[in-house]
């Protein structure tokens, strides 16, 4: 008798689970289909192109499929370029995180309407044109710019930050700040602050409460923000070119150069596939580690 009751209950659960699963599938369907059509298939085309050959006029011929383009990925030039881009991306992400975390924390500690206003105030500068903003930085950091003029007024010499790595970092951190602030804010805002209150009631210092409760709980935001900053920075080339003088080739510039400059689409495609494969692997690894420590 108990067995029948249980199996009936099991069947109901099973049905409910399946209905749930179907509902989930349906809700996921629009994004799934959209990305399949407008992302996977186009990427498939690029993937096929990476095995093709370049005609003498720069057109891609879809015959004689080969691995030549992929073998070039092991060139030392590629390694140099990749390393430089990687370092830049890591430093930018770390700087962004260090600036954004206290900032997001502060916003969260304000009242609701103030919070929303502050968030939007963060976004508004980015509704101006990117190039114009970067130009403004060029003016600011140039040898005739305000910073230099202040230094001259104070008795120092002409200061030109422009065309240095510092300028590039300033530009990149500036450009990706909202990408770090928003996810951080989202995760901090939703945290259960009563846990922190509880910890303080138990005589934990503010710092300990932060370190052991707030920080771990805000990890999803940190992870999301880091990804949203690190990855685009890896492929960034316009900001480094405008503020750094394009003195070194970065990954993004290198790939653009293949598609537009050399019109070597097979190699550009191979580079793209390679970059994506590495980033995908890194993201998977990052998540596995993140999941373990959660």
């Amino acid at each position: 008798m108990t067995a029948t009751v249980e199996s009936e209950g099991d069947l109901l659960e099973e049905a409910a689970r399946r209905a749930d699963s179907r509902r989930g599938f349906l809700i996921a369907l629009p994004s799934y289909v959209y990305l399949m059509i407008f992302f996977v298939v186009p990427f498939g085309i690029v993937f096929v192109y990476s095995f093709a050959t370049r005609s003498s006029t720069g057109r891609t011929i879809l015959e004689d499929f080969n691995l030549n383009s992929y073998s070039r990925l092991f060139d030392p030039v590629v390694a140099r370029i990749a390393t430089r881009s990687l370092t830049l991306a890591v430093v930018t992400t770390v700087l962004c995180l260090m600036m954004s975390y206290p900032f997001a924390y502060y916003i969260v500690s304000r009242g609701t309407s103030v919070r929303n206003a502050l968030l939007i105030l963060v976004m508004i500068p980015f509704w101006s044109n990117f190039l114009v903003r970067t130009y403004a930085w060029r003016v600011l950091l140039g040898s005739d710019g305000p910073i230099s003029q202040i230094s001259q007024a104070l008795g120092g010499g002409e200061v030109r930050v422009l065309f240095t790595t510092t300028a590039v970092l300033i530009g990149l951190v500036y450009g990706y700040l909202p990408f770090m602030v928003l996810p951080l804010y989202a995760s901090l805002e939703r945290m259960d602050w009563q846990l922190v209150e509880g910890a303080r009631d138990l005589y934990a210092s503010g710092w300990t409460a932060f370190r052991r409760i707030t920080l771990p709980l805000s990890m999803p935001g940190v992870v999301a923000g880091s990804i949203l900053v690190f990855i685009p920075t890896l492929g960034a080339y316009v900001t480094p070119a405008l503020l750094g003088g394009a003195r070194t080739t970065l990954l993004g510039d290198y790939i653009v150069g293949q598609f537009l400059g050399a019109r070597n689409w097979p190699y550009g495609s191979a580079l793209s596939v390679g970059v994506m494969a590495v980033m995908l692997a890194a993201a998977v690894a990052y998540f596995r580690v993140g999941a373990k420590t959660a």
Binding site: R22, P30, L35, V108, W127, Y174, Y185, I231, G235, V256
Partner: protein, 275 residues
């Protein structure tokens, strides 16, 4: 709900955080001030200041190229933001609240548009639309439509990431409680989940809007005759020297957004009082 346990009011920590926030805002707005200032530059070349003038604001309205580009940009941004926010939020919900076949695949799929280099996405969409136009036998496919479709393609993922970060922190107990009170899934969503994730959804929408307004590389490749967007137009201007005209346009856009935001805040406050 003010989170006063986050930081003790008037403590040294609070002061430091406040000071840091001010610094960050200063950092954020410094180039904006320069940008607005330079819009009053008399010289045709924006970086060389020769005098004060408001002529660019007048010229802006007469420059057909710029006005058309602005119109295209706003249309694309509006549509792609709305669509990608809806679809992206749905994706986030599905990933965080349901178990279904293909969940793992969607998980990976959602990250692809984020990790792909700009130029690769641009090239692959160009090739895709080119093939599509040949297969469909239609001559003119590239235009506002293809730009919007492309923007939606990358925005879905960004919205999903932000909303998921938010959702993953909701432990579902409130939703369970609603279910215990005989609310069906849809009611639970509309009255419990949605309000709870609204900050995430809005954050994702803001991000999508920003990305769409500023996109250059992808847009450049998939646009067609007469569908140049403002960022692409400005990018092309760079060769000839950017004139303060673009600064004027940017300033107007900034002021317009601030006014919109101010209005909506006042509106919200009134609603809260009477609602």
């Amino acid at each position: 709900m003010s989170v006063s346990s986050a930081v003790r009011p008037r403590s040294p920590i609070e002061r430091m955080l406040a000071a840091n926030a001010w610094l960050v805002f200063a950092f954020l707005y410094l180039p904006i001030l320069v940008l607005i200032g330079l819009s009053f530059n008399e010289n045709k070349n924006v970086a060389i200041w020769t005098g004060f003038s408001t002529r660019w604001y007048g010229e802006m309205l007469h420059n057909d190229g710029v006005m058309r580009a602005l119109r295209v940009t706003l249309i694309v941004a509006a549509i792609s933001t709305v669509v990608s926010t809806i679809v992206g939020t749905m994706a986030a919900l599905a990933m965080e609240r349901f178990r279904f076949r293909g969940r793992g695949a969607l998980d990976g799929l959602l990250y692809l548009p984020i990790i792909i280099p700009d130029v690769t996405m641009a090239v692959m969409l160009l090739l895709f639309f080119a093939q599509a136009s040949q297969l469909l036998g239609r001559a003119q496919v590239f235009g506002i439509g293809t730009i919007t479709l492309s923007h939606i393609a990358f925005n879905i993922s960004f919205v999903a990431v932000v909303v998921r970060a938010r959702l993953s922190l909701l432990d579902g107990s409130l939703e369970e409680a609603a279910a215990d009170l005989y609310a069906n899934r849809w009611q639970t969503f509309r009255r419990v989940t949605l309000p709870l994730i609204m900050p995430g959804v809005l954050g994702g929408a803001l991000l999508a809007l920003t990305l769409s307004l500023d996109d250059v590389v992808v847009t450049q490749f998939v646009s067609g005759p007469g569908s140049t967007t403002l960022p692409v137009y400005v990018f092309g201007l760079v060769k000839r020297g950017v004139s303060p005209l673009i600064n004027a346009v940017s300033t107007v856009m900034l002021v317009a957004s601030m006014v919109l935001v101010g209005v909506s805040l006042v509106f919200q406050r009134n609603n809260a009082r009477t609602g």
